[in-house]
Amino acid sequence: MDRNVAIPALQEERAKSAARLQRRKFLDMSDVRFFSASLTAPAQYILLFIIMFPLLAEVYISLTSWTPTRGGDWTQAYRFWDWGNNYVEVFRDLAFWQALGRTFLIAGVAVALEFLLGLGIAFLFLEEFPGKRMFYTLMLVPMMIVPAVAGYVFWLFFQSNGPLNAIVSLLIGQPFTLIWLANDVTVMIAVIVAEVWEWTPLMFLIMLSGLVGLPEDQMRAATMLGATSWQKFRYLMLPMLKPIIIIALVIRGMEAAKIFDMVYLMTQGGPAQATETISIYMYKIAFQQVRWSYAAAAAMTILVIMTILASYALRPLQTPQREAA
């Protein structure tokens, strides 16, 4: 017999229980949906809460020509309404694009070097040798040094009467007093060296964990089939390491693009603009030249550029490769 046959009493009963079910879905502590929402909600709302106002304030200021020196506080900025002039100016500002290019140059060169060094050092640490544990730990120390302190250490290191010049003097046998931080080219080298020093250990760790995790059977098979070391590396290890390498490069790349502390302590972006990365550029605009509305426009431009870059760069971090790693 059909279950849905019209028996009025039964229908009423069903309607009631359906209503009860409906009611229970609203604010029921034991409901899974409520539970999952209340897990993520704090994070979501705190994010929104902290980002919302600053973001809009930034846009608002960037559309005016207000600066603290023009009088009034920032709430009065609408009196200096300026439409998009700041943005036009940002696009025309050579220093902005140079700073951006410089940032990508430092990040690109440093990350490439970190990767090559990290991979090379990982090969050195692949097999057991006496004292490995200690050397391994020593290798990790640089990445835990506070970047600002690292900046100071390398500032010391590259002084004209510092240890580096002393070592060079010893090697070439005559006094060597290059002022590294005062020359446009050598100062870039100095900054890149500092960045490479601090973050090669991370690359090394990542690469080592990748190498250790490679399936041994395939390596052994390749050895038995007479593959040379280079062939094993090129056709076996590299393809298998690829997902890890991509993740490592992406993450290091995006962190390196934010570089500020170390450069600020070492050179303050100088000499002149030689090491002015995008963060230092914005810092100088906002706090030394006190052009807040312009700094806000520059910051908004960076946010847009970075959002676009991020959505492509973060793709490898999403699920499929995650399992391969």
Partner: protein, 352 residues
């Protein structure tokens, strides 16, 4: 099995020594500088001192004590307040990040339909719509003069969150696919140079009178580092089989009970390493503290910077001593959690 010839072993050893030596030298230089008396600081006298000839604790004393007007040396304040502020602020920021991050991580790990894949034009389009809608209100609030007070900011933020919800709904009507992704926006937050966000944060903080207070810094640190907590803890939660929480619920535990009594105790080790990791990040911060503190709560890196930039005579030794004090906690903690460093710094993408 594959015994290498002796020369290869020796070569490797030599290479390892060279590499480790190169990577250790800058740290060594700072450490040795911290113990050198003034005369050994630089090569001005023609020789360079590779090791402290006459080790002394003078530098630590100099940097930790307050010094007022004597000849040849400027007034110098003690580093002790900055050490205190670093400790308080880093611990506070870590706890805050853990509090909101762990819950979100569990949510994303267990209930997420969040693919995390948000095309940039949707992200930017949504942002542009939001800005278009809210900008007139911002100007209105400014014109009314209430935006500089906390209730103006609060009401504006609530309005903004409401508008954000509506825009999300609206977009979902016309665009099939993710229009909102917590996982993605959390990760994306890490992409931006903090400098781009910190200027308006300064404005907001000064309205709330949070500049140069420990809780102001704690709030920013919590928000800046909680992406790491979310991704790290998510990777730890993912390793705990779902069947365990389900079993707990079948046995009569509530959802919260299953989380607090079953899953969290199992993830205790992960939680501890995440805490240490985030502590290192907070401790290492320079930029946020540089902009949000002035006199009362500068952290160690900010204080170090003020020493470097306002120097009279090269105070190499005391600065190195302060640097040494600053790097001890992160190095110790870092070595403790070295197994998880990779996982932490790659947002849990590489687990080993």
């Amino acid at each position: 099995m594959n015994q290498r010839p002796t020369w290869q072993i020796v070569l490797r050893y030599v290479l390892v020594l060279i590499v480790v030596g190169l990577f250790t030298f800058p740290t060594y230089w700072m450490v040795s500088m911290a113990f050198k008396p003034k005369i050994e600081w630089s090569t001005a006298h023609g020789t360079i001192y590779w090791t402290p000839q006459d080790p002394t604790l003078e530098n630590f004393e100099t940097v930790l004590t307050e010094y007022r007007g004597k000849f040849f040396r400027a007034n110098q304040s003690s580093a002790l307040p900055s050490i205190r502020s670093s400790i308080i602020v880093s611990i506070g920021g870590t706890l805050f990040a853990l509090l909101i991050g762990t819950l979100a991580a569990y949510g994303l790990s267990r209930f997420s339909v969040d693919t995390g894949d948000l095309p940039w034009y949707i992200a930017l389009g949504r942002l542009a719509l939001l800005i278009l809608v809210l900008l007139p209100f911002m100007v209105l609030w400014a014109w009314l003069g209430i935006i500089r007070y906390w209730y103006g900011i609060l009401s504006f933020t609530l309005l903004g969150i409401g508008a954000d919800h509506l825009i999300g709904r609206l977009l979902a009507l016309y665009y099939r696919g993710p229009t909102d992704s917590l996982a993605f926006s959390i990760l994306q937050l890490r992409m931006f140079p903090p400098m781009a966000i910190v200027i308006p944060v300064m404005i907001m903080w000064s309205a709330f009178k949070l500049i140069d207070t420990w809780y102001g810094l704690v709030a920013v640190y919590g928000v800046v580092t909680f992406p790491f907590v979310v991704w790290l803890m998510k990777s730890f939660f993912d390793e705990i089989p779902r069947e365990l929480d389900e079993a707990a619920i079948v046995d009569g535990a509530s959802n919260w009970g299953a989380f607090f009594k079953v899953v969290l105790p199992l993830a205790k080790g992960g939680l501890a390493s995440t805490a240490l990791f985030v502590f290192i990040l907070n401790w290492s911060d320079f930029l946020v503290a540089l902009l949000l503190t002035t006199r009362d709560w500068p952290t160690i890196p900010v204080f170090l910077n003020s020493l470097v930039s306002s120097e009279i005579g090269a105070q190499h030794g005391p600065k190195a001593a302060l640097g040494l004090l600053a790097v001890i906690p992160p190095v110790v903690f870092g070595i403790l959690i070295q197994r998880y460093l990779v996982r932490g710094l790659t947002f849990g993408a590489i687990k080993r």
